[in-house]
């Protein structure tokens, strides 16, 4: 893969993260703010609400996309950090392997949990 495409995709995912992280933070963690404006819902972290979201297809899709983009963004960043700390042409392929396998593993794990929960 062209080195610059990886970088461009990190920039791109960063842009998406502004939106997705915004929705996530506003909905889940700043839950006193939205209801004041008649939006969102109260107590989003109550188990019943979590259950409801876990069975809503839109939310499940949101989780998987958010997970994929955040993992790509964070792990590409980690790759950049590692390749500068262990700067050598020999270490690069090991760093790529490590970052890809860990990233893909976490992506499949997260997807399995959210999709699996949706299906039961």
């Amino acid at each position: 893969m062209k080195e610059g495409l990886g970088w461009f995709f990190q920039l791109f995912t960063g842009l998406f993260l502004v939106a997705l992280l915004g929705v996530h933070m506003l909905g889940m963690h700043m839950d006193t703010l939205l209801p004041r404006f008649g939006m969102g819902y109260k107590d989003p972290l109550v188990f019943q609400e979590v259950l409801k979201r876990g069975h809503a297809p839109l939310f499940v899709a949101f989780y998987v996309v958010f997970l994929g983009l955040a993992l790509y963004h964070g792990f590409y960043g980690l790759r950049a950090v590692l390749m500068e700390v262990w700067a050598s042409s020999r270490t690069l392929s090991s760093i790529n392997m490590l970052v890809w396998s860990l990233g893909l593993f976490l992506f499949f794990l997260g997807t399995a949990v959210s999709v699996g929960f949706f299906l039961v």
Partner: protein, 277 residues
């Protein structure tokens, strides 16, 4: 009373001994530069002190050093600018030290070479026809061409500090200096050295290079433009106006009507000792 400045210099002689700090007292004259102080030490106090300098006017790039924790050109910086009566002078970071304040800049020049820092044309140049360059086309690369290869930007760059194989701000800024030039057709060739691991993408825009550059080159800006041009080139969107050739120049032709004239001669060749006698 005579004003004095205390100059502490890091001494190192690559003889296996660790670096040590040596202190000198220097009488401070008005307008005295850091280089003047070092010259005073070398001429009057300690002839064994090693530092590099040549032009003494901020143009050769030899005298970059680390003064009170910040990189400066020693000849271009007056002592009063530092604002302290104690100077702590060390060699430029991110380069191996040869002796005292002299660092080995070969890695800078090697990295500079890899980006093909010259105009690349697809055709043989025609010496009789100049390439037309509009003022905005000159402006596109002008400030990047002020680089004197002093290494200050590299010494400030946090990526260079951890990754010695990173191309670095000096080389990257020069890659853009030539790629942005309307006379250049070498961007595709230059891409090989830029678009790779430890190439342009390892710049994380700390901006230290631009802040420290004594010549106002702004390498960080050049690097961001380079990134944009590379991404645009993936989609076939990196375009420059094709350089056109001007009319043939005849060296014998008379200047056109109304063109400004050179001033009248006030000295004839016979008046000077260069007239041959």
């Amino acid at each position: 009373m005579e004003r004095r400045v205390s100059v502490k210099v890091q001494r190192y002689a690559s003889n296996g001994l660790p670096p040590r700090i040596e202190q000198y007292e220097v009488p401070q004259k008005e307008g005295m530069t850091i280089l003047d102080a070092l010259m005073f030490i070398k001429e009057n106090l300690d002839g064994s002190l090693a530092f590099r300098a040549s032009c003494r006017m901020g143009i050769c790039g030899s005298c970059a050093m680390f003064v009170n924790g910040y990189p400066y050109l020693a000849c271009h910086t007056q002592i009063h600018e530092i604002g302290k009566q104690e100077l702590i002078i060390k060699p430029l970071p991110n380069f191996p030290v040869v002796k005292d304040l002299v660092v080995d800049l070969s890695s800078l020049f090697d990295r500079h070479r890899t980006v093909l820092p010259y105009l690349i044309r697809s055709e043989e140049p025609d010496d009789t026809r100049p390439i037309v360059q509009r003022p905005d086309e000159l402006e596109a690369f002008l400030k990047f061409s002020y680089c004197i290869k002093c290494g200050i930007c590299v010494s400030g760059c946090p990526t260079c500090a951890s990754d010695p194989t990173f191309l670095g701000p000096q080389a990257l800024a020069q890659a853009w200096r030539y790629s942005a030039d309307n006379r250049d057709e070498g961007f595709a060739k230059r891409k090989e050295s830029l678009d790779r691991p430890h190439g342009v993408w390892n710049c994380h825009l700390a901006g230290a290079c631009s802040e420290a550059c004594p010549k106002g080159v702004d390498p960080a800006l050049g690097i961001q433009r380079l990134k944009r041009a590379l991404i645009a080139s993936y989609f076939g969107l990196f375009r420059k106006r094709k350089a056109t050739l001007g009319p043939p120049v005849s060296w014998e032709a008379a200047p056109p009507e109304g063109a400004p004239r050179p001033p009248e001669r006030t000295v004839t060749p016979e008046d000077t000792s260069l007239s041959g006698d």
